[in-house]
Every structure is written in structure tokens, then in C-alpha cells.
Symmetry: C3
């Protein structure tokens, strides 16, 4: 039983600036293609204004996240941030910091080793352009 | 030196809604049982209203965490959150987001590779019911 | 292709209480020395008042982080925190919680598998003394 590895990129181009997308089915598909049965799955945003996190697939909660992140790190006024000279996305860097860059999930008997409600989300905070998520699996 | 893996669940049923529990001894025991000497240890909450994080085992700091999380994401009034229709735990989803779902710890010469004050905690934010933490170790 | 592992410590002693240091070159050097081509790189603060995180190497954004973290978890007045009896660094424990303890980065074909702007930072929130970061690499 030697170590194996598998790599895949997922691409997103959201219609709105902020969006939460359930990517659990895409990660499950990558796990299946990897043929790895025991190990760890790393899923990370490859951009620094986006997030990968695990939480509930419940639309009310997603509205709560939007409101809460806007309170913690408001998008506007843009000039409240030093970063916003050529860009206007400082708030997205901060929002992604709260939500996290990556998750590491255990892989057991060929499946994501999840509790009852865990779902993996891509959190876009500065969208309307092509951005990527990396899936890297190592194990045996 | 082939890759090995080890899996264990820890169960909790806290008496109060919110509680911080030092789980370092339980993780050390899992590491020992795994007989893995070099690798990585993933410890994650299997529920989306709980957290696993590393910080100081100091009771004053734990009171500070409680007060701070209540400022950032207050439990009440319940109706401030869209998620709180059938449930009342939206704040627990947000608190867990701040504290984090998981930690990954290096395993070196059969021990958790820790700095001087690092301790692993289970952070419960919607307790009084049975919930789980997953320990997954891979290495050799 | 057996599993290999590599371990390295990075030491810091910052001149100011808070500082963000780009450690990407040091991590790249560790990756090269490890001779591991496919796997995962764990980089974590070994102290509980410091952080390792991935974001943009842009000075305006770093000023935004400083201001934002001071709003979320102000350093002063010290006596607002129960932790600050013998110490004065409760805010640093909270700031590190927001920024995160660790990052896990995929290693592909011998390189950090990064998006276009990803850079790894050491975030010091209670400096002016020697503190460490751990780099642990596993793979083949």
C-alpha cells in the first residue's frame, strides 16, 4: 500500500460579487476518480478573495452569513480601506479570512468522512471572473 | 515504510450550551494507539455548530472567548437570524466559523509536534446533546 | 514510492508587537530540501499568540488587517480581558484566532501548488521575543 496522490481544479465564474456554492458533489466525484481509499483531502481556494469552508446547506443561514460578514468587514465605502487604490476588494480579503481558505477532510473507506450535516462550500467574495479551487488527495 | 492510517471518534454531551473542553490527552492516546510515528493528525468537529481549535488552557482566556464570541455573534435575540425558524442555533454556526472546524497537527517521532503552550480544544456552541469529533491520522 | 517526511523550524524575533512577515521563500526552500514531490505541506505557528495564513503581499492590505484586527479585538485597555492578569496579550490570542493557526498547502511536482497571488505569512501579534513556526511535509 504505497502513497498515491490526485489533483484536480474546479473553476467558477459567479454572476454576483458574493455567492456560496455547495461543491460537495464535485469533491465526491474527485474522491471516486482518485481511487484513494484512506487518506486526506485538501480543498482550498486558489484566490485570496475566496474561501472554502464547511457548514450547513440552509438558505436562511447563508443570508445570515452575508449580513454578518457585511457587518464585520463592509464592502463600502471603498475608501475606508488602504488596499482599495487600484482595486475595490479589500473587504473580500477580510471576509475570506473569517471564512477560511481551506478545509482538510478525512477519507475513510473511499468516502468523505463526514458528520450528518457537513457540506463543503466555495465562498466567493469578489466574483464575476474566473477563479479556481484546488482539490488534492493523498493516501493509499 | 508504507502509509498507515488510523481513525477514532470522540463523543461529547455537554451540560451547558457552550463549553470548551481540553481534548489533548484523548488525542495523545489516539496517536499512541495508532503506532504511527511520522505524519499528520487531523482533528475536526463532525458537527457544524462546534469547533476544534488550538489555544491556551487558561480559564481567564476562556471567559474572554465567551464574551468576545457573544459580541461578534450574539445568541439572542433569536429572531435576528434567518436560520432561526425551526432552530435557535444560528449564532453557534457563526461562532464555530470564527473558531474553526479543524486543526492539522504534525506527528514527529510518535508525538504531537507542539510548541510550549499548544493545547487542543473542543468548542461546543450548541450542546446538551451527543456530538462527535473525528481523529484521523496518516503517516508511517 | 514510500511515504517520506521532512521537518523544519523557522525562528522569529520581531522588533514590534505586531508584524506580518512573508515566509514563502523559506517554505519554498524547505520544500526543495525535503526532496518530496507530491504531498502536503503543513505550516503552523507553534505559539498561541501568532498565526500562519495565506493572503496578498500588499502593504495597504496589511494596514487594513492591522486596523481591522484592532477593531475586532483591541489591545487596550488591557483590563477589559480576564486573561490579562500576569500577562497583557489576550488580544493577541483573539487576533490569532481570526487569522488562523496554520495552513495546509498541496505539493505538486515538487512545488507549492499555489494560485496567482497566494503568499504565506507569519502573523506576529505579541512579538519582541523568540517564537517559532513549524514546517512539516509528508509525501513521496
Amino acid at each position: 500500500m504505497f502513497m498515491k496522490s490526485y489533483r484536480k481544479e474546479l473553476w467558477f465564474n459567479t454572476k454576483s460579487r458574493r455567492e456560496l456554492i455547495n461543491i460537495t458533489p464535485a469533491i465526491e466525484e474527485a474522491v471516486e476518480k482518485s481511487e484513494i481509499k484512506e487518506g486526506m483531502v485538501l480543498v482550498n481556494a486558489m484566490h485570496i478573495t475566496a474561501s472554502v469552508f464547511i457548514n450547513d446547506d440552509e438558505s436562511g443561514l447563508h443570508e445570515d452569513f452575508e449580513k454578518w460578514l457585511e457587518e464585520l468587514a463592509p464592502e463600502k465605502p471603498y475608501d475606508q480601506y488602504k488596499h482599495n487604490t487600484a482595486e475595490d476588494n479589500a473587504d473580500a480579503h477580510l471576509k475570506r479570512t473569517v471564512m477560511g481558505r481551506e478545509v482538510v477532510v478525512a477519507l475513510t473507506e473511499g468516502k468523505l468522512d463526514f458528520g450528518p450535516w457537513e457540506q463543503i462550500f466555495y465562498g466567493e467574495f469578489d466574483g464575476k471572473r474566473s477563479k479556481r479551487v484546488l482539490v488534492k488527495i493523498i493516501g493509499e
